[in-house]
């Protein structure tokens, strides 16, 4: 299996690769199209029929899901800017290999390839699965613009909509994913829940001015307010036991010789409970715009127990990251997630890594799971 895994995983190693060794595979770009065509080809070569749903996701089906709902594996192929090789593709590659290794199965089985999971291009995560379930309104999605001002409507040729027929074909969903922190000390784990999380935009206004002539006492410099807020957010996050990140910034006019007039800063925060998130916001103050809010998602306990029973000693752990699996669980589909160990805890960066032995353990676990659920 090591050779098979390396060959399949390695066959997309050059698609969207950046100078830093990371990946830029934004939804509905040439790189994304190439990856979707690669997925289609690999699935068809393994005997699947590949069909898109009305939301733009791809489904590789073995067996007829219109006779009875099937067992669906899968993940995504798009990336964040300068992302790693494993986030998404590890799940796709492992799913294709697991279905192949499982041999003939009694129930229909699919590998789903979700579109635009990262939301890196249009700012809305899990767009493909959320369009599918109706959690994201199509007209709202199509109006989203990327950094070049191109709308999603312009970027994609189809007109997405929710797709109850495609959803009805899913008996249960299992997503395998590289773990994204250092929470897993064995090769494979099982997710219990996704922490609630939200995004807030702070518009810190000051007075743009000349950096060489404006006395310190006359300044209203929003960079100072931002700096204080960053340090406060870290302190509160430590005290409250949550995650808070200022990862995106816009400075205006952003000239070396000008005191900025505006700093726009985006806070990403995730916590074990929604109450803790609200406490953080209250402590930070200001009047931020809430750009997204995702409640806690608890994965199907019965399905998790069944996976635990057929796999040997997999630890259970929560995660702070959103996934298409969370969207499907929210929609009422019994869903589970398997995590593969991340030795350095780095994700969303070129250094993202999983050891080959752990990846193979992931494929083996997924093979056992699909045999258990569809055998």
């Amino acid at each position: 299996m090591a050779e098979q895994f390396s060959a399949l995983f390695g066959s997309i190693a050059d698609v969207g690769r950046t100078g830093s060794g990371g990946y830029r595979r934004f939804a509905w770009t040439g790189e994304d199209r190439l990856l979707r065509e690669w997925f289609t080809g690999e699935a068809v070569a393994r005997g699947a029929e590949v069909v898109p749903d009305r939301a733009g996701n791809l489904w590789a089906w073995w067996g007829d899901p219109d006779t009875e709902p099937g067992v669906v594996l899968g993940s995504h192929l798009d990336s964040v800017p300068d992302g790693g090789a494993y986030d998404g593709p590890l799940g796709i590659v492992s799913s294709l290999l697991a279905v192949e290794a499982a041999g003939p199965l009694a129930r229909p089985v699919a590998v789903a390839c979700f579109a635009d999971e990262e939301g890196a291009r249009f700012g809305t995560a899990c767009a493909g699965s959320r369009l599918l379930t109706g959690a994201l309104d199509p007209s709202q999605a199509l109006a989203l613009k990327d950094a070049d001002g191109i709308t999603m409507a312009e970027a994609r040729s189809d007109r997405p909509d929710k797709d109850p027929e495609a959803l009805a074909r899913i008996g249960c969903f299992v997503e395998l994913h590289v773990e994204q922190g250092r929470a897993l000390e064995v090769p494979v784990g099982l997710a219990t829940e996704i922490w609630p999380h939200g995004r807030w935009r702070f518009d810190l206004e000051g007075q743009a001015n000349h950096a060489g002539t404006t006395r310190l006492v006359d300044r209203d410099d929003p960079v100072l307010a931002f700096a204080s807020m960053v340090l406060a957010a870290r302190r509160h996050a430590e005290q409250l036991g949550l995650l808070a990140t200022f990862g995106r910034l816009q400075v205006s006019p952003n000239a070396v010789n000008a005191v900025p007039g505006l700093v726009r800063a985006w806070l990403d925060a995730r916590a074990p409970t929604e109450d803790l998130l609200l406490q953080l916001l209250e402590r930070l103050g200001g009047d931020p715009t809430q750009e997204s809010w995702t409640s806690a998602v608890r994965f199907d306990l019965e399905l998790a127990d069944r996976l635990s029973d057929c796999l040997s000693a997999v630890p259970r752990l929560p995660t702070g990251a959103g996934h298409d699996a969370g969207v499907l669980q929210e929609h009422g589909i019994p869903t589970a997630m398997l995590f593969v160990r991340n030795p350095t805890g780095i994700s969303h960066a070129p250094e993202e890594h999983a050891d080959l032995d752990d990846c193979l353990a992931g494929v083996a676990a997924l093979t056992t799971v699909v045999q258990e659920l569809a055998g």
Copy 2:
């Protein structure tokens, strides 16, 4: 004169105007070309002959400067991003009106319109005057790139070079400029010196990572280092009596859900002495790249005394801002600067303002000066 001033100053009020009411007039753009054509037309209409020098600056001459060096007034027409209406154009408009009001003069007189003073497009301030004197190497300048990756060589059609012949025509230079802080409490003042200043780039490296899964203790978040440095710089600036500004930032990958891997921050610092600047850098630590260093410039004392004598009670003041006047003084040309009061202290922003009465006092002072020097 109020009507004449308002008409001439108002005739370019719409060129390069942004939605915020500010101006974007970058060097070698369509806006810049239009302004230079406007300058040429207004000067020719007042009887001047307009010629470019080899560095790309424009010279409107009355009389023949090859018989004896002339008295040169002038400033610039380009702007910072979203800059104000006065920084540059006030000097050009006042100079044209002063030469007109002065009447026939014994010596040759010129109004110079310097190219690319702000350096907003290619990152190098006073490019036109520094190319003229040879302080800026032409091949180095032509290789500079703007934010779109366009080189200065591509942006301008000429091949600039230093121009000793054009310099030899300058007997002395007087630039009128809006004051850019709140240092002036009367309508008109006289500059004594330009503070030494420099620009340094700090590359704060961390480890890019997933904002939703990386534990706080596992993070190496350069935004925290940046925040601490901003607050430290302000504290040191207050203690040392200097100006320190972080006005430009680049965050990578700059995604809401990613701990950044790199924060690039530019420090602009200016102080009464070079020693104070070096103290600031030492206190901040790190290993910044010095992108520019400009020593203190002291304007010609004899010329300043002569201006003081013919003008009634003008206070003298230093400034932290660089100007073409500083470049010419550095080159050994006797140079002076007149400042017009800035009631709010705002500059390099749409709110930049000077009262009409103060502008008229500036034109009157400049008229007296040109009569004194060239009469």
